[in-house]
Amino acid sequence: MKIALFATCIVDAMYPQTARATVKILERLGHEVIFPSGQACCGQMHINSGYMDEALPVVTNHVNAFESVAYDVAVAPSGSCVASVKHQHPVLAERCGDAALKARAEAVGAKTYELSQLLVDVLGITNAAEQLGSHFPHKVTYHPSCHGMRSLKLGDRQLDLLKSVGGIEFADLPEADQCCGFGGTFSLKNADVSSAMLDDKARNIESTGASLCAGGDASCLMHIGGGLSRTKSDTTTLHFAEILASTITEPVSVTGDILVGKAGVR
Amino acid sequence: MSAKEEILSRITSALRDAPAPGPVPREYRMSSDMPEVELIELLVDRLEDYKAHVDVVDVPQLPATIAERLKDATSYVVPHGIDTTWLPADDARRRIDAPGAVLSVTELDGTDAVLTSSAVSIAESGTIVLDGSGDQGRRAISLVPDHHVCVVPVSSIVRLLPEAMARMDITCPLTWISGPSATSDIELERVEGVHGPRQLDVIIVKGL
């Protein structure tokens, strides 16, 4: 299968290892991964902040980028960005009075999958240890990000994949379904409320005694990780793609460093 | 322009670009074939959950059960259309509320209990419907006394609200009762007994 990777802007610029892990998993399964070079961002920061006029060129660019190359399906390691592509792009196009763009955005959205959706629903992965060779001998908890959970209805796909990783020790997160408080520019405009939500999320994560909190959205993980870092917590955050990419021969550390061999040289 | 004309005109203007609405899908449960014994069981469970007291009796036991439930009342009111064979004979405690001979609010407030029948009951939600018929009376009599004894004929029990709705005359003054009066206003914890009757005794009658 030919799979077009939508890296998402935050992963592209801040967490390239998440996209590299995504590529690694898919190539390990024998699929061809392509990277449509025109891609940039889904535009949800603009849309969610009310800047619709400014969002339109961003959305148009995404549709153009993913129309200009041939592939079977597109994938992004983010529930939030995929929800934007699938649900927000057609709505924005309609609001801006562009019916043609709406139809094109719907077509791109229909071919776009969140990573766990692709792995479970399309590629039939049910056991990461057996089918992907995933191995990650650490104690892990998991935060299901809101847009994946509620907009995409991902259910337990990410969680079940994580639990099937070799060597992993899993700890349930109390109040897991509660938002971490990120919400894009919400964290700037309503920083106090956002921080109060983050405090509770961080406290719940620490209560599990896990070495790290896994998730499926780099933005939420940056938010939670940033809060944990500020309080000098030892707990970190890591994208589930990186955990799935970790193997016995090429292990990934709890901070996401790719270790080579037993010496642990980066 | 009158207020009515102006509001209707505003609505018409507001809706000028509105799409035609779709049909209402009615895929929810509208009928049930739950056997009588299970209907009774379900209704009892729901009512007890609301902290109502429930008896399930056959017709011959009804008068004795009513007498038992009313034994602590120094006075009780009944609507004029109640079946008098249910009632304790020559009872000086009894007050009858009838059209043209209604009890005042003060008299009702001085009455300990009320006995009524009921129109239809919904097992799934534990709801008893009064419709103001002669055996149920006007709304005030089942409201002001602090203790309501309510007779529920088994033939009036259905499982689902849509089944009950089909049996209701919606233009009657209707009171749906699901347990004694209650409030969740303090810390969202339910406590029973506020302004309505604090005690609700339900007598489910088989064969009626």
Binding site: M1 | R10, T183, E187
Partner: protein
Amino acid sequence: MSNVFMGMPTLPVFGDGNLHIEETFPTAAHRELGNTQMRANLRHATHTIRDKRLKVVAELPDWEELRDAGSATKNLVMANLPALLEEFEKNFTARGGIIHWARDAHEANSIVAGLIKEQNTTEVVKVKSMATQEIGLNEYLEEQGISAFETDLAELIVQLGHDKPSHILVPAIHKNRTEVRDIFLAEMPNVDPNLTDEPRLLAMAAREHLRRKFLSAKVAISGANFALADSGTLAVVESEGNGRMCLTLPETLITVMGIEKLLPGKEDLEVFMQLLPRSSTGERMNPYTSLWTGVTEGDGPQNVHLVLMDNGRTAALADKYGRTALNCIRCSACMNVCPVYERTGGHAYGSTYPGPIGAILTPLLTGITSEENSTLPYASSLCGACYDACPVKINIPEILVHLRGEDVDSKRGEKKLPSQMDLMMKGGSWAFSSGKHLGLLEKGLPLGKLAAGRDKKIKALPGIAAGWTQSRDIPAPPSQSFRDWWKKDHTPVAATNKQEK
């Protein structure tokens, strides 16, 4: 009514009353967040109700089908509103009721005051009603020399405590049992000085306090949860019996209701009476529901009025992306599941309608440019819990985003310097509308790494980004973007697996 105005678009007429917030949401939220007792109370209460709601919703195998029916019914009602209102009026009037129409809060208030004065009384009892909260009826009546006694326990707590409601179902949700006891001891005449904070005893104290008022009141004022067009029937859903007292004992009953509350008929009521109690108090059914159709001879009030009120509803209806907010049945499920509401409480929203529904309904009723109401649609992380919980499937997050767009657009015309957010969004629009632009910017990533310093963390940012660094670090950026790595270092692998979808 003739339809001579049809096709002549009129400007939306916005609502008035307790809908205009005086300070921005972030300012109010900052203050409320500091009230740790309130936050503990709210956390306890909202978590209690969440669990109850989930349990009773799970009992119904057809919950989603009921939501679908409820949502479609409300859309149908809004589309046919003029005809349904006329039908309702005809049926209600035919059975002895009297209808009054009110364009706005002031008109509704003066109609109610006039009707009370006709009865030569200066005291009325009230059933909890959002519509009368919205229009500030109690305050208006007080100016007219009329005392309105709230009879719902939570409303009574708020009224006695000289407080404001903070929740549409449980207006005193921000108070715990001890605080309620203290209010009763201080404000309730003839209260037992040994009153404890046991909720059952507090409820008994309220019963004692209000009993004589109920038995002697000549006029009652209520809202309505539903109105059935094909029969002219009104419905009030309640728990304590205060509603039955008000709807049954006085000679005169005045109901104030928004025009959006209509349902076509009783086959619709069966849907909503399954959705509402489970969504609001988390009960299978509320203790009491009263339905009345005009006047019934010899039973209940013989002088029955209904005030049908617009007050901005037609303005909300005119917003094609926002009009489904009018489908709200005031269950409060959205605020009970909202992580923002849970932490700030209802007062931070500054309007009669708090929480997620308030954040959309308030600016829809008043217009987005009214005072500080434009800050309300931003009072959400867009987590979507409200949409999941809404029994009539109002897509609250989508309407929040729409209203943010309205806010930004409304400010575009203003001749002033662009805000930091404006500049960030303009810059972002350039960067994110092309892979080349983003790639170019990413060449600067090593600079960010430098700025992060030795511990690889950015701990303080200027301007609006300081909101982020008040409680979070940002990791040092990588030295190479994914895009760059892909171009320079990735060795493409041809597909070996021909597995198809």
